[in-house]
């Protein structure tokens, strides 16, 4: 392993070291999470170059503000993915380009062998990815659609309602039902806290 020792540290421990200016810790955190972060940005933007800029920006701000992350507030990945999503959606709006297709049909997980994360992280992420795909597949298509438009396009419920030509109230309840089902599906399987 390239970063022997670091790969075994938890995210919070890596972040504490990053806050102290440890570049190796940054490299280890990147190795562990960059592929998922990039995949999310790519899914939103459809353009690898911009997606890479988003990931670079996010990890750069982690480098600068690692101390701002408080482990008691939740999982690092929740925080990371929220930042990636926000910035990717901002980039999408700035570009005003046609967004890419939503992630359908679900594809095979690629083995990110070159990334060298710890085995536990990989298994955990793979199981979560599998569970999320199952949860989405179990949704009625109309519910899945609004959830994806909200999450991957960054549209508000009003924008979704206008796009689909449906009443706002319908979209609100679909969004709620969809997210509720995904939550329950994942929580029953112990995949989210």
């Amino acid at each position: 392993m390239k970063e022997a020792g670091y790969a075994d540290l938890e995210d919070a421990a890596l972040l504490a070291r990053i806050a102290g200016g440890d570049e190796q810790a940054l490299a280890a955190l990147y190795d562990r999470h960059a592929a998922r972060a990039f995949s999310l940005a790519l899914c939103i933007l459809g353009d690898p170059e911009t997606a890479e800029e988003v990931v670079l920006d996010v990890f750069w701000s982690i480098w600068q503000h690692a101390g701002a992350f408080a482990p008691e507030r939740g999982r690092f990945t929740t925080w990371l993915h929220a930042m990636v999503r926000h910035r990717a959606i901002d980039a999408l709006r700035r570009r005003r380009a046609r967004p890419p297709q939503l992630p359908e049909p679900p594809e095979e997980e690629m083995e990110p062998a070159a990334l060298d994360p710890s085995v536990e992280d990989l298994v955990e992420a793979r199981e979560l990815a599998q569970a999320v795909r199952e949860a989405l597949a179990a949704l009625p298509p109309a519910q899945r659609q609004v959830l994806e438009l909200a999450y991957f396009r960054g549209w508000t419920h009003r924008e979704i309602a206008a796009h689909l030509g449906e009443p706002l109230g319908t979209i609100k309840s679909r969004l709620y039902l969809a997210l509720r089902k995904v939550h329950d599906w994942l929580a029953e399987r112990g995949m989210i806290p």
Binding site: M110, V132, L147, T156, R158, R180, A187
Partner: protein, 216 residues
């Protein structure tokens, strides 16, 4: 705010699918409601897991090299602000979800007043979130004041009389969140403004205005 309605609102909020004003209103409610805060947290975890629905792809190896080179100072520091509404929402959300002791109370629906940049800071913007006589000011793009100066919040009535809402100093960040002292009765005031003042604040505004908004 009705809890039945809020369940749908919370889900949309967790997904970032509320317009900024509605998101700010939900955030203000969460500040005073631990029960809804816990629900919002659970929805947020579920929403965050949607990231895993994206097919897994690897960035180019060059990206890691660029990151590490930049971290070593090889690339010049390049600060970029967050997006517009998103940054404000994130700021409100971060503060409110994680600062339960802020002291908001559950009661009348919160009021959100958008603020525009004034002559001294045309690119700044913000929101004032008012609830039950307490207020949060969220600012974006407001520069760090010069040494010996602070920002001061003012509430003005129709006759132009002004009362201070407190002072604050911005940090070198894209956005900031501050608590504001709300004069009572608030209905007596028509406008809100933020000016640059000497350290410690002034009895009435003396410096240039950086933000302004209209109270309903």
């Amino acid at each position: 705010m009705d809890h039945e309605i809020l369940e749908e609102e919370l889900a949309a909020y967790a997904l970032g699918a509320l317009p900024p004003e509605e998101a700010a209103a939900v955030a203000a409610h969460l500040a005073g409601c631990p029960e809804c805060r816990e629900r919002a947290r659970r929805y947020r975890e579920a929403a965050a897991a949607l990231a895993y629905a994206a097919p897994l792809r690897r960035p180019s190896p060059r990206l890691k090299a660029r990151l590490l080179a930049r971290a070593r100072g090889a690339e010049r520091r390049r600060e970029r602000g967050l997006g517009l509404g998103i940054a404000l929402i994130a700021a409100v959300l971060a503060l409110i979800l994680f600062a339960p002791s802020l002291g908001f109370r559950f009661g009348a629906p919160p009021q959100v007043v958008p603020l525009q940049g004034a002559e001294a800071a045309p690119d700044a913007e913000g929101y004032l979130i008012l609830e039950d006589g307490q207020a949060l000011l969220v600012t974006k793009g407001l520069a760090v004041p010069p040494e010996g100066r602070v920002y001061q919040v003012w509430f003005a009535d129709a006759a132009g009389r002004r009362v201070s809402g407190g002072i604050f100093r911005t940090q070198p960040r894209p956005y900031g969140v501050y608590t504001v002292t709300v004069p009572l009765p608030l209905t007596a005031y028509a406008r809100i403004g933020v000016t640059l003042e000497p350290e410690g604040g002034s009895p009435s505004p003396t410096g240039p205005q950086v933000l302004r908004g209209v109270l309903r």
